[in-house]
Structure formats: C-alpha cells, structure tokens
C-alpha cells in the first residue's frame, strides 16, 4: 500500500506545473469557463499542447500519445485543473480517435488521426436521438446502402458544439433485424455534405452548446464506415466506457471549491464575511469531504487499472458522485453570489466574473446527471452488475 509519489513522479509534476504556468494565460483560461467554448482559443491551446507532445496522453505512444503511467496522467489532469487551463475538447481527441485507432482501417487512421492530433478538424458526436436518450440502442437514424454510398436519413439531438464541427461520428441503423444493438453501424460524416443541417437548441443556460443535427438523404461514402457493418455498437461501447470513467471531474471540482472559498472569504455579510457563516461553512465542508472521498475512490480505480486489473466496483460510482458533487459545488457557488447569480451577462457590467460563470456552470451543469447515461441508468447498472439485483 503506497500512495506517495515517486521522485520521478515529483519531477514530472514539477515539469508539468512549469509548463502550465508558462503557457496558461488569461486568454487561454477564457477558452472555456463553463458551458460555451471559444473555438479559436481552444484550437490555439490544443496546438500549444500538441507542440509539447501532450495533447493526447491516452493515445498509444507510437501514434502521438505520451506513454505516461497512470499516475502521470493523474498528475497532468490535476495540474491542468489547478492552472485553470481548459480541458481539451474531447470529441476528436478522446472519443472518436480511440475508435479510429482501435477499429479503423490503416487508411482511415492515416486520413483522420493527424488532423485530430493537430486540432485541424473539429468533431462532434452523433449518438442521442429524440426517442433514444439513456436508451441509446433505440436509435432510428437510417443508413441505406446505395452503391458505394450510404444514404442517411434521420435526426440526432444534444449534439454538443455541432455548430463549429467539421465532422460528426454517428451511430446509424443499418439493419432492423435481430437484437436492436446488432443493426447499428459507426459512420464518419463530413458536416459539409449536402443534406446535413444543424439547428441550435435553446437551452436554459442561454449559451449555444447543444444542437439538433438533421440528415436528409445525406450520401456518405462506404469507406467512412468504421469496421464492419452492423457492429457499430461494439465499437461505441468501448468509447462509452471511456466517457464514463473520465466524467468524475475531481480536479475541476477541487478548483471550484477553492474559488468558492476565496469568494466567500471576501463576500460581505453585515460586518463580517460569508465564509464565517457557520451554516454556509458547513455546507462547503460537506461537499469538500464528499470530494475528498471521491478523489480516493478515483485513485483506487486508477490503481486497479494501473495494476493491469479491471476497475473495481468502486469505479461505478465515479460518474454518479462526480456529477452530484459538481452540481453541489455549482449550487453553493450561485448561493454565494446572491442576487448577482441571477443576472444575465449581456455586456452590461452587472454582477461579476464569479457570478456570470457561476450561473452558466450551474445551469449547464444540470445536464451532467442526465447525459452519458443518466444517473438513474447508472444506478440500474450498479444494482445489476455490482449488487447482483
């Protein structure tokens, strides 16, 4: 039993910290503040990371990954959050790339991976459909073979950042026979193809993050299919697993609590400050303790995987507790901001940096317990897979 960093780890931490300290400017921090992203800044930042060779820690080392140990990845994530740097946009680097380098043809790898690594193309994810939320396999967007093209018809929903995306990776139905999961294929679609239409979804946070994507007789070359026809579900599952373990957001929540404590220490209440209010202080303490627990739950999961094993049952709670804690932090933050958490940041300087970000994060964050398999579905899964119910 040993959770102390080795001297190599400590040296690595120092290096990473120096890099972030040098490269994370206030401009970079504005790339993502809680909801909307600034694509130009994000591309700039990802290119800086790429130049350093650190943009894709999870990729195999021979095609652009870092070859880091799991401890190093953990250190990197923490330092990244600590610096206030935005996390990379996951759809290309963390979501479609693993599918391509694991299941794609050599030609597909050559064609797509370099642009992802260099942040030359912007990807989005076409999974959810109006009738298929947490029950993803109910999807109905159809792809019918017509010569060497699929003709795609249907609709995707909740498509994050589709408005800026060059490509979308989609699950589409290529067969309606057998089990629902067995008739699904994995297609890469150029967003500029005729018949693709993006419509903004007006969301409660007043930001533009989510979209609907419509496909009206969109012709997609067969060579854009990953792997075999009707096996797309298998490939997507690998990706979903990835999405669910990266979702705890411990480092981000830590940073959030730190900012909240700083704000509460200067927010005036009568002759004192909010941090001195015993009830508010107790609420911060409670969520911080929850997070301290989750941090070690994550470390336990990381350590299992690192030792070559499968993550233990404790890993199944990362998404549920992670998102609950994120929401709790955001709720306390808007509470701390008082009236100003309820003002729209429309250019008039009413409120403050803290309050605008707070309300955006709070409102956008309501989705965190819904997407990626709602927390209710997660509980069903734990009940069945872990408790054997």
């Amino acid at each position: 039993m040993d959770i102390q960093f080795t001297s190599e780890d400590l040296a690595f931490q120092k290096e990473v910290r120096a890099f972030f300290s040098e490269n994370v400017t206030d401009e970079i921090r504005r790339g993502y503040t809680g909801g909307e992203v600034d694509p130009a800044i994000m591309v700039k930042w990802q290119k800086i990371l790429h130049k350093q060779g650190w943009v894709a820690p999870n990729w195999p080392a021979d095609i652009g990954g870092t070859g880091w140990t799991i401890t190093q990845k953990y250190i990197f994530e923490n330092e990244c959050a600590e610096s206030g740097a935005p996390s990379v946009i996951p759809f290309g680097l963390k979501m479609v790339a693993p599918v391509i380098y694991t299941f794609g043809s050599d030609e597909q790898k050559k064609r797509f991976l370099p642009d992802i690594l260099e942040s030359n193309v912007w990807w989005c994810q076409g999974y959810s459909e109006p009738g298929a939320g947490s029950d993803l396999a109910a999807l109905q967007t159809k792809a019918e073979l017509d010569g060497d093209h699929y003709v795609v018809n249907g609709q995707k929903i909740w498509t994050t950042y589709a408005q800026d995306a060059d490509w979308i990776f989609c699950l589409v139905r290529t067969s309606s026979e057998g089990k629902r999961q067995a008739g699904i294929s994995f297609l890469l679609i150029d967003m500029k193809t005729p018949g693709v239409e993006v419509r903004k979804i007006d969301t409660i946070d007043n930001q533009h993050t989510l979209n609907e994507v419509f496909f009206d007789n969109v012709r997609v070359p067969v060579e854009n299919r990953i792997g075999e026809e009707n096996k797309g579900w298998t490939y997507a599952k690998v990706l979903l697993t990835h999405e669910r373990t990266a979702i705890a957001g411990v480092a981000q929540s830590k940073k959030g609590i730190q900012k909240l404590r700083e704000f509460a220490a200067q927010e005036k209440v009568g002759a004192g400050v909010l941090a001195d209010d015993p009830l508010f202080a107790a609420k911060i303490a409670k969520v911080e303790i929850d997070l301290m627990a989750l941090e070690y739950t994550e470390l336990r999961a990381i350590a299992s995987v690192s030792a070559g094993g499968a993550p233990g049952p404790e890993s199944s709670i990362l998404k549920i507790r992670g998102t609950e804690i994120q929401q709790a932090v955001s709720e306390l933050t808007i509470e701390a901001c008082g009236h100003y958490a309820h003002v729209i940041n429309d250019g008039e300087a009413i409120g403050n940096d803290m309050s605008w970000v707070a309300s955006a994060k709070y409102l956008y964050g309501r989705a965190s317990t819904i997407y990626g398999g709602s927390n209710e579905v997660q509980k069903n899964i734990i009940a069945k897979m872990v408790l054997g119910l």
Binding site: T203, I204, G270, H342, E348, I370
Partner: protein, 378 residues
C-alpha cells in the same frame, strides 16, 4: 376551522386561473418576456381592467380591501403561469409602501395611478454590499434648502428601467447597518442625476442598477417619517415574502404536475418512464414537498392576517422551506425531464430559474433559517 375560500375569493381565483390558462401560454410568456420592456403592456391593461391591480387597497384608496389571502390566491396562479408583468414590484411592494407610509395626497395620486395602470412604480431597496439585509443602506440623502440631495447606488431594482417613479430607501442618519436613520424617498425616474442601467435576469424578468448623482428632490418627496422607515420596510418585506412564496408554491404545483404528465408520455426501453418505481417515489417526494410548502404558506398567510405573535417565525419558516424545497422540486423536474428539461422549449427550466430568483429575493433559505433560529431563541 376551515380552509375554504369565500365566494369572492373563489371568483378571483377563477378569474386569474382562467386568464393564465387561456392567455398565458408559455410561448406567449416568452414572447412578452423578450420584448423591449420585458412584459406585455396589453396584459397590464387587462390586469387593470379585471381589477387585479386594486386588490390590496382599501375601498377609500380605490381598492377592494383584499388581504393576504387574496394576494396569495393571485400570486399562486401567477406562479403557475410564470407571469412577467410587474405586479410584484408595482402592486405588492410599491403599493404596500404607499398604503402604509403615504400621506393623503401621495396616496390619492399614486395609488390611483397604480390601480388604473398609468403609473409604474418600483421599490429600490437593495444595495450591492447589503446582501440580504434591508437595513444595510449606504445611499445617502442630505437635507438642503430645496429638500434633499441623494447620492448612491441601488442594485437589482425590479423592473427599474420601465418604472416612472422609484421609491428609494436612503440613509438620512446613522451608520450603514443601523435600523434608525433610514428614510423612503419618491424619486421620478426622469430626475436629473438618476441613471438607470437595465438588465435581464435569468428568470426572464428585468432588473436595473440605478445610480443617484446629486439628485435633488423636494421635501414632499419624503414618504413617511424621516429616519423611521425600517419598520415599514420590514412590514412590506413580510408581505413581499408571502407573495413570492405563494408564487413559488404555484410554480411547484405546476412543476410536479408537469413532471408526472411528462413521464406518462416519455418512453424509454419500450415503456413509459412513469412505470419506474424509483421515479414514482421521487415524484411522490415532489408532491409531498409541494403540499408541505402549501401548508406553511397557509400557516404564514393566516397568521399574518390574524396578526399572531409568531408571524415572523411563520414567515421565516415558509421562506426557508420554499427556498429549499422549491429548488429540490425544480431540480428533480429538470432531471426527470432528461435532456428536454435542459431546453427552453419546455418551461421546466424557466420555473427552476424563477424559483432560484425567488429564493434569493428578500433573503435566501439559510438567511431565514438563521432568522428562525434567532426568533426561536428569543
């Protein structure tokens, strides 16, 4: 012992409910909310025509002498419709201040104006350093030959940009946190030195930041006694909280009923999600939260009406519980609506935002929990 409405009260309820039902679809509300002034002038005229703007005033003042029960009835229905018209700031806040502190001529002019819809008045009470303390007033009024000169800032003034007249709490004596030395002033929005910056709030309503720079007003700008406004403000705050909580209770009812209805429509894994027991129990909790808040609302309203000794405690309990339970019900409503709950297409998120705003106005849940504790110890 009965909780039944009188015939008049039932008529009032039906009248408001019918209007919300027929004229106040969520789409219409959104459209009005996004207009220049943030609400519908036409609706406001309708409110006047239907006699809703005169409800709380005495017959001498031109009203019908409605009490807290009538106000509860209206606000609860408004809460179901997410009404954006400035009823709260104009009638509840300003109307009550005038009725309590105004002299005959002020009442004659201004209350009449409120009732016929021609005057829009709001109450500028909040300051950025004050958080939830209504007596934390730094904005100053200094006496001079012509009356008073006002300097300072007011923050989150509800519908401040569309008001003709502001009732401003100012300090004429004492230190920022003192109860004594607070005075109410009537300041026309058009007065020299008044600068009003409009802002939209997340709940689709409007507020403003108001700056007073050497604003000269006459002596008859005084509303009530100089230096003795704290008590009036506290009384109005009590009525304000009852009204806001009634609105929130209306919203909570709509939220749990909409959620129940949505789960009966929404299918996942081939069945309506209303069949999932875990969701059923959570919707029962939403229902329970609403019923309990409704009980506290009745308790507070009736104790206010009767002038009970424990009215402050009842209101603190209500405001606390509505803050906590309102958020809980709204969060659950969004969660159970799933992705749809995140969109402006459904109203559920707007109820959440309004409930959050209500929690904050006149002191949030923790503020009133602390007040409740202080009152219990006293």
């Amino acid at each position: 012992m009965n909780f039944d409405f009188s015939e008049e009260q039932t008529l009032l309820k039906d009248s408001v409910a019918k209007f919300i039902q027929n004229e106040y679809s969520y789409e219409a509300r959104q459209k009005n909310s996004q207009s220049d002034i943030g609400y519908s002038e036409q609706n406001w005229s309708t409110f006047a025509e239907l006699g809703w703007l005169c409800v709380p005033f005495t017959e001498e003042q031109g009203g019908i002498g409605g009490g807290p029960v009538e106000m509860m009835i209206m606000m609860e229905e408004f809460g179901k419709g997410l009404v954006v018209e400035p009823y709260f700031s104009s009638v509840v806040l300003s109307g009550s201040l005038l009725a309590k502190a105004g002299n005959e001529s002020q009442q004659a002019e201004l209350i009449t104006g409120i009732i016929d819809g021609s005057k829009k008045i709001t109450f500028a009470y909040n300051e950025s350093q004050a958080r939830f303390d209504l007596h934390n007033v730094v904005t100053k009024a200094e006496k001079n030959d012509q009356g008073y000169v006002i300097n300072g800032n007011k923050s989150i003034v509800l519908h401040g940009a569309s008001a003709d007249l502001l009732i401003v709490s100012v300090r004429t004596a004492g230190e920022p946190l003192d109860n004594d030395g607070i005075t109410l002033m009537l300041v026309p929005a058009s007065a020299d030195g008044v600068s009003i910056k409009a802002t939209r709030t997340l709940d689709g309503q409007r507020a403003a930041e108001v700056q007073f720079t050497n604003v000269q007003v006459d002596s008859d700008a005084l509303l009530g006694e100089e230096g003795n406004a704290a008590l009036v403000i506290d009384q109005v705050a009590d009525e304000a909280m009852l009204a806001l909580c009634a609105e929130a209770v209306g919203s909570m009812e709509k939220l749990y009923k909409d959620t129940v209805a949505y789960t009966k429509e929404r299918k996942q894994f081939g069945v309506a999600i209303s069949g999932f027991q875990a969701l059923q129990h959570r919707m029962v909790d939403m229902f329970t939260a609403h019923e309990q808040c409704k009980s506290l609302l009745l308790r507070a309203v009736l104790s206010y009406a009767a002038g009970d000794a424990d009215v402050a405690k009842n209101i603190a309990a209500l405001k606390y519980q509505v803050g906590v339970s309102g958020q809980k019900v709204a969060h659950e409503a969004v969660q159970i609506h799933g992705g749809m709950g995140m969109t402006d297409e459904m109203s559920v998120g707007m109820y959440l935002k309004r409930i959050n705003m209500i929690n904050t106005l006149f002191g949030n849940a923790d503020y009133h929990l602390q007040r409740f504790t202080d009152l219990s110890a006293a």
